[in-house]
Symmetry: C2
Subunit: 203 residues, 2 copies
DNA sequence: CCGTTAACTTTACACTGTTAACCGAAAAAT
DNA sequence: ATTTTTCGGTTAACAGTGTAAAGTTAACGG
């Protein structure tokens, strides 16, 4: 590759190609040499701009987290009813998972032993997505502030429900007789419905 | 390795070593050469008894499925109440997942692109585990036989809930502030509670 | 014009799963 | 009893993988 005065140009090209390759073929076939070949440099050149393969992957994961965050925020636009907001968040998360399969996989499905620890600062940003759920749940109960811990747990329960469904779907473990979209509807209903149930109990 | 008259002896040794290695170090560090070294033969000898690495892994997955099946069946022993039976199944599944982490990972977490298709016959056996859930659900509703499809879907919803929780836990994506056991209790309660909710509605 | 800096490449290492060719001892056949 | 065949197991090799160390060469500062 020709010498490059602008030092960030190659870095951007690598990231672009990595993203494209990820989306097109999945993270399993993401190889340093393959990216390099497509970008027109050598595999070791990537190490000039990324500490290692994980570092490159972390950058992509972060991109995905930002996209998800924006999508979640967008889904709340103009929605006032607390329960409705929870519902919107769930559907939006689900939509993201189904429409950005490869992103979702590196973000939430990739086994951590495959990768070194996700950097603290990036984690903090990603964590905002979970907070969105927890906040929405707190709003449902009306009394904000208190019971933070319980809201966090409830957010995790909902997350686990949807993530589990997506995870089974992506890994093709759902029975063939299952209608995927109908199943996903049931999953969201169950995740949010559980709240309404508890809500009813409380009132 | 010395010549072996009994042809299945080496095969058993390989399988034993593979299982041990899986449990001790996880499927990521399962390598043909490593297994062979531990067993005292060469890597290519494994191909005399297993079609490829996936075939070997399938054998281990099947083992896990059988163990899970026995555990699930055992948990129902002497339990009559239909709702209780659902509860027992959930707790038993959860217990298996937490206590047999490495098995669970190859059984339910391993990305299918990592592996060739799970053989049909083995799948049929594994599928019995899901059927256990579906049957238990059907019993709750009282009217057995009808609504099979809905029971299957409900079983998947519950499965997704628990699997999601386990999956997030195993991949260390649960927030550090979450008490794992308490969280898992909430998850099971939610999964089964959802049934009771519906049950109440119906009556 | 020379010396330094730094962008990029070459080479190499230790791995991975897997195939093809080979070896040699046991079993079968003559 | 000697030859032939079978087959359990090994060796060598291929095409990959991520990555560290060393080498090259173009651009820039004095």
């Amino acid at each position: 590759m020709a010498r490059n005065t602008n030092p960030s140009e190659l870095r951007a090209a690598i990231l672009d190609e990595a993203r494209e390759c990820l989306i097109a073929e999945g993270y399993l076939s993401l190889s340093m040499r393959k990216i390099a070949r497509a970008v027109g440099c050598t595999a070791t050149s990537i190490y000039l701009y990324f500490q290692d393969k994980d570092d490159l992957l972390h950058a992509l994961i972060n991109e995905g987290m930002e996209r998800l965050h924006n999508q979640l925020l967008g889904s709340l636009d103009g929605v006032q009813d607390p329960v409705q907001r929870c519902h919107k968040l769930c559907r939006s998360y689900l939509e993201f998972a189904l429409e950005n399969r490869q992103y979702y996989e590196v973000m939430f499905l990739l086994h951590p032993a495959h990768m070194k620890r996700y950097p603290k600062e990036l984690y903090r940003r990603a964590r905002r997505n979970l907070d969105l759920f927890a906040d929405a749940l707190a709003a449902v109960k009306g009394r904000p502030g208190s019971e933070e811990k319980e809201d966090l747990r409830s957010a995790h329960v909902i997350w686990a429900q949807i993530h589990g469904a997506v995870s089974l779907h992506h890994s093709q473990r759902l029975d063939v007789n299952i209608d995927v979209l109908g199943f996903m509807d049931a999953v969201v209903d169950n995740a949010v419905g559980h709240l309404l149930c508890k809500q009813d109990e409380a009132s």
